[in-house]
């Protein structure tokens, strides 16, 4: 079996495993099957990346040549994202066991089946080379996500899920409208075919509107600033494990789809000219960075605080994109990867606290530095990464982002990036201060350190944060290849 023939199975394995999972009773086997599927998927994605960086891989389903049939078309960009998504699932799942047992005591088969479908959906979006197929898999992952969020024990989880459903569906429908316009103008749905046929017709209002609709639709899923309203509640009330996974992957895939359309399908030398896209994205990115960081500083609930921080981090990525250069895109991809690592680590640490204490409110963190030193140290270290302290992964992505801004002489942006980093210090430091420099109130329950099954995966992620802050060959190499793959269609430097 060649790597091209193996590649689609990183989607198909979780897809099929979800069926098995749905039927399995008890608490152990669904989890074990899920873990096995996620690991298999991650391995396949890891094998795909080097091959895809060399040459674009194409796998035609049903052996119908595209654009008649549907193909998976993989280059460095989507291989990079796929590896991130599958890898995150494989790394976070060992942590999930305990946490899920506590927060979702019943019907775990269904839970894990939904999880696998969400994973498969995200991977399907990433690998697919067909616009409509992207929509279908987007809906698979979205619907599964709504279900997963609603598993949260608080009744507000239901509300969060419903609002996410409404906004998510509107976003997906916008995407569908955009795809519809493109189809009307070109008669094809294959992304590659589209990119070849669009130049003939692209100076029409229909195509311009299609671009706008796709960007808004994906902006909704991406939680780009004015469209971010669903995210804080969804992240706050979902079960801890779902938050960990979503924070690491869902918005990243939406960003990827947006980039794929803007850069590959429409070619950047057109899409950035016809709409004031660069300016708009830059303003939205900066606004997201600021608003997210600002609101995060005042959140009493740590999960919500991290959720707003995610809005801010999405801002960084959008900002990187808005610079429309290889370095800027590299920065966006790097941050996409690194942010997944750090945010998942943070949410895992918070999830571990929830496991022990039962709440994520900041008062509950008091004095935990002494009773749960390993958990809170993990939080602090991952927090350093989000601040962007050297030797952490977060530093690397900020370095590239600042460099990209400097390349274009955008001094103000540099200042803004740095100011929001300082804001990150403040919101992370609140937790650290509560954990180490406040005493536990007498009426608060005493807690001990969390079990190792939760600690070890958290620390693996923390270690990865540092590993990718020191050895950046994989991340920088992958991100650069991804950025170049996306920009190769255009005429930009």
């Amino acid at each position: 079996m060649t790597i091209t023939e193996l590649m689609p199975f990183s989607v198909l394995v979780p897809l099929i495993a979800s069926l098995v999972c749905a039927l399995l009773p008890g608490r152990f086997w669904p989890w074990a099957v899920t873990l096995a599927a996620a690991i298999a998927s991650a391995i396949i994605a890891a094998l795909t990346l080097p091959a895809a960086a060399q040459t674009t891989l194409s796998y035609a389903f049903g052996n119908w040549p595209p654009p008649i049939g549907i193909e998976y078309r993989v280059d460095a960009a989507n291989a990079f994202v796929a590896l991130l998504v599958a890898g995150m699932a494989a790394i976070t799942l060992p942590w999930a066991k305990k946490s899920v047992d506590k927060e979702v005591p019943e019907r775990q088969g269904t839970f894990y089946a939904l999880f696998l479908l969400a994973l498969a959906g995200l991977l399907g979006i990433t690998l697919s080379g067909d616009a409509f197929n992207i929509f279908v898999f987007l809906e698979i992952s979205s619907l599964a996500t709504y279900g997963l969020i609603a598993y949260g024990s608080d009744r507000r989880a239901l509300l969060a899920s419903f609002r996410y459903l409404i906004m998510g569906t509107v976003g997906a429908t916008f995407l569908l409208i955009g795809i519809g316009f493109l189809y009307v103008m070109t008669g094809t749905l294959n992304l590659h075919d589209l990119s070849e046929r669009l130049p003939e017709v692209r100076d029409t209002s229909t195509v311009r509107a299609a671009l706008a609709f796709i960007i808004v639709g994906m902006g909704l899923k991406l939680a780009m600033l004015p469209l971010h309203l669903w995210l804080p509640n969804a992240y706050t009330y979902a079960p801890s494990f779902v938050t960990v996974f979503l924070a690491g992957t869902a918005t990243k895939v939406a960003l990827y789809v947006m980039l794929r359309f803007v850069f590959t399908v429409f070619a950047p030398d057109w899409s950035f000219v016809v709409l004031p896209l660069s300016t708009v994205l830059m303003i939205l990115g900066v606004a997201g960075m600021f608003a997210g960081s600002w609101v995060a500083m005042f959140q009493p609930n740590i999960k919500r605080m991290l959720a707003y921080s995610s809005v801010a981090q999405v801002g960084y990525m959008v900002l990187g994109v808005s610079l429309v250069s290889v370095v800027g895109l590299t920065a966006a991809f790097l941050h996409l990867f690194n942010h997944a690592l750090m945010k998942a680590a943070l949410f895992m640490a918070v999830g571990t606290v929830i496991y022990q204490v039962g709440s994520a409110r900041i008062e509950q963190f008091r004095g935990l530095g002494r009773t749960m030193p390993w958990t809170l140290t993990a939080f602090a270290l991952a927090g350093l990464s989000i601040i962007g302290v050297p030797l952490t992964a977060g530093f690397i992505s900020k370095w590239y982002l600042i460099q990209a801004a400097l390349d274009q002489g955008q001094w103000v942006l540099v200042a803004l990036i740095l100011i929001t980093s300082l804001m990150a210090i403040i919101y992370i430091w609140r937790v650290i201060e509560a954990a180490w420099f406040k005493q536990r109130e007498p009426d608060q329950q005493a807690v001990g350190e969390a079990p190792l099954t939760l600690l070890i995966p958290t620390w693996v992620l923390v270690a990865l944060n540092f590993y990718f802050g020191i050895d950046t060959r994989l991340t920088v190499g992958g991100a650069t290849a991804a950025a170049e793959a996306l920009l190769s269609g255009g005429l930009l430097p």
């Binding site: 409509f132 279908v136 809906e139 507000r156 239901l158 509300l159 419903f162 409404i166 189809y183 609930n301």
Partner: protein, 120 residues
């Protein structure tokens, strides 16, 4: 004349879309929101199907004596999209049921007020 007619067809779709979308954003009742979502989606379906239509063509099933068929591809897409729509509707309604049980209401405004009372 043809032009006017063609635009008319598209514009009906657009107006339907706007109505549905307004219903989604502005209405407080969750069931209404979901109905609005359905309206919105259905209008998109009409847009797609219109794209496949050839005047004088017929349903794309091979028969004797028919020369021009409409394009089957949009039909396939919309079949899938309808399924997606009903799936979304079902999940949304299930959520509405649970919300109704948890809050005693399916009015978004009312629940928002109650949430503030929770002191989050």
């Amino acid at each position: 004349m043809m032009t006017a007619l063609s635009f008319f067809n598209y514009w009906v779709v657009v107006i339907l879309m706007m109505i549905g979308f307004y219903c989604v954003i502005a209405r407080g009742n969750m069931v209404k929101k979901i109905m609005g979502l359905n309206l919105f989606q259905t209008s998109v379906f009409i847009l797609f199907i219109s794209a496949g239509k050839i005047v004088g063509g017929s349903t794309p099933i091979l028969r004797e004596g028919v020369e021009v068929y409409s394009n089957p591809l949009p039909h396939v897409l919309i079949l899938t999209a309808i399924v997606v729509g009903i799936a979304t509707t079902a999940v949304g309604l299930a959520l509405a049921v649970r919300i109704n049980e948890a809050y005693g209401s399916i009015e978004d405004d009312y629940i928002a007020e109650e949430e503030d009372g929770d002191g989050q």
